[in-house]
Point group: C2
Chain length 350, copies 2
């Protein structure tokens, strides 16, 4: 069996907590029998659930707390007042090396604020980012930032590129990931100043990635790049737009199949193939936003996700722990630092 991994679960975060958290843990354990869990939250509610899922109960402990961060809480308030909350205690346990990673379905802003405050950012990283995996025509693509930073400087974007490449190497097994900056098409309009400066740095420096320049919104899911870097505002809009478009398409497709007797029959015949398609674009399979750039693994599960979605988020945390992602980012950034001052190889000196 793989080496044991202990994860801290915020049992009270998300719309269906703690029920879906425990059920998600049970599903995840089928896939990763080496995980142990520490549940943070209301013992009176968690304990009966663990009794109902004895495989989870046998590898878990409960840390009781009655405090919960509400979805409506402002991050600043959560940080000030939530020191005994289930979310905060889960993060604290990562800092204290009691757990190797934390997973929460709670308030994103509060989770990021607490994670930053408690775990601190990695050396040479100014700001942590939120990264996610997207299905593409060719496989998968890592995109960051999905919402942690509204405005990003060129330096921040370059750091995101290095972090994203470290992810693609650690989790996707891609030795030299193709990294792109998300931009718009029209020549005149091309990009904010920060984008142009980041592109220049990525082009000139020797980095453990292959910078392929700019991509547009339609290129992301076409699989043009392994890693797509953008600011948190644009990334969040893109993420949600993918969700909305997929939902619209599914709605229209379901309506089309209900249109006539023949189309209903057609649906029945094609159902196994369509179910495979559904599994391939199932947002639950892509649940689990990765907080990157921190001294520790923190994964955000979608607030409305069910047990299967929460299990995916746990899987992401396991991958991050196994991939030793923080150490890899630190090493890559050191390499970046050491080559940063050199002249680009293509520039002649004389």
């Amino acid at each position: 069996m793989a080496p044991a991994i202990t994860l801290a679960l915020d049992a009270m975060g998300g719309d269906n907590a703690p029920d879906q958290v425990v059920r998600g843990a049970a599903l995840a354990r089928e896939r990763f029998p080496e995980i142990r869990f520490v549940f943070f939250g209301d013992e009176a509610r968690i304990s009966p659930l663990l009794n109902r899922h004895p495989t989870v109960g046998a590898c878990s402990t409960i840390r009781h707390t009655a405090e919960i961060i509400a979805d409506a809480d402002k991050p600043s308030r959560a940080l000030r007042r939530g020191a005994r909350s289930s979310m905060r205690l889960a993060i604290d346990s990562v800092r204290d090396a009691e757990a190797q990673g934390a997973v929460s379905g709670g308030n994103t802003g509060a989770l990021m604020a607490m994670a930053k405050f408690v775990l601190k950012t990695l050396p040479n990283i100014d700001r942590p980012a939120i990264a996610g995996l997207f299905p593409t025509v060719k496989g998968e693509c890592t995109m960051l930032d999905l919402g942690a930073n509204i405005d990003c400087s060129a330096t921040t974007l370059v750091q995101f590129a290095v972090m994203g490449a470290a992810f693609a190497r650690a989790l996707g097994g891609i030795e030299r990931p193709r990294v792109a900056l998300l931009n718009v098409g029209s020549e005149e309009l091309k990009g904010h100043e920060a984008l142009r400066s980041a592109a220049q740095v990525l082009r000139e420096r020797q980095l453990p990635l292959e910078f392929i320049g700019y991509v547009e919104g339609n290129d992301v899911l076409a699989g043009a790049a392994d890693v797509v870097v953008t600011d948190g505002f644009t990334g969040n809009v893109a993420l949600k737009t993918v969700e909305g478009t997929a939902k619209l398409y599914s709605t229209f497709l379901a309506k089309a199949f209900r249109q006539s007797l023949l189309s209903r029959l057609g649906y029945l015949l094609a159902r196994p193939a369509l179910n495979a398609l559904r599994a391939r674009v199932d947002p639950r399979a892509y649940n689990g936003a990765m907080f990157v750039g921190l001294n520790g693994v923190v994964v955000k599960s979608h607030g409305s996700s069910d047990a299967m979605g929460f299990a995916s988020a746990i899987g992401v945390a396991v991958d991050m722990v196994r991939g030793d992602i923080s150490a890899r980012i630190v090493a890559d950034l050191k390499q970046f630092g050491s080559t940063g001052a050199e002249a680009p190889a293509s520039v002649a000196v004389n």
Copy 2:
């Protein structure tokens, strides 16, 4: 028959010009027998095409020019050097009231730069925008800006809201359009300063629209608003992301149907319904980006669109001309101006 409308067509713009332009005109004329066309471009190439489409030939004239704006031309260069180009002459003819609108499948940046320079912006409008229609679960939604302005001030966003509402009234027949600002979800991160200021103005002023606050990327295609306002960078990314996601979904769907004999049979049975679905999400039916805020109608057709797509863009121009969109925006902005200085009704004076 409806009153005659004359449209100026840039016969040389787009990947498949002038062939698709003439064929698109022929398709459009079946729907709008009242249109007349002026084709700008290479007479030696256009003339034989008109002979092949006599219904178009009979209602069209050709203005010969050998100059063409290339897709790679920078807008500034196009503006300086392209005074005799097919694109520029088409716009000039709108200024000279020879045509009531222009349609081009050429270089977007050059088209916008020329349109701004030649037609000028409407009174009280600082910057023109690019608007487009999106299919939603509930019907359609107008989104702007889709790429004309990378950065937008609060004032610009408010002007976009008023222009977008005028569109929804004129083209969608919605008396009091629900207008929203595109934003991100997380509470802490909510929006750039410009978004927050624009929201405040839209909330407080009496405008001919219903401001419903912020929406996220997934809300757009869910039909949460009739008009979604955003800066041109974010709007362009959202537009292209919708395209990319729809394409991914179609690719996966086609693969699913090819998976087994049963699924192939299922496809055959459901084909009429699936074709109806395809028509509903067909990007060609949504082709035609509207330049708004100018003294004149200009529509951009997608560079790679076929005849059907170009016909849709012509249809958009017809709708804009018939809806007298510029006059409506001017009237709405006057109303806005007159109420702008008043205290909001909800604020007590004592």
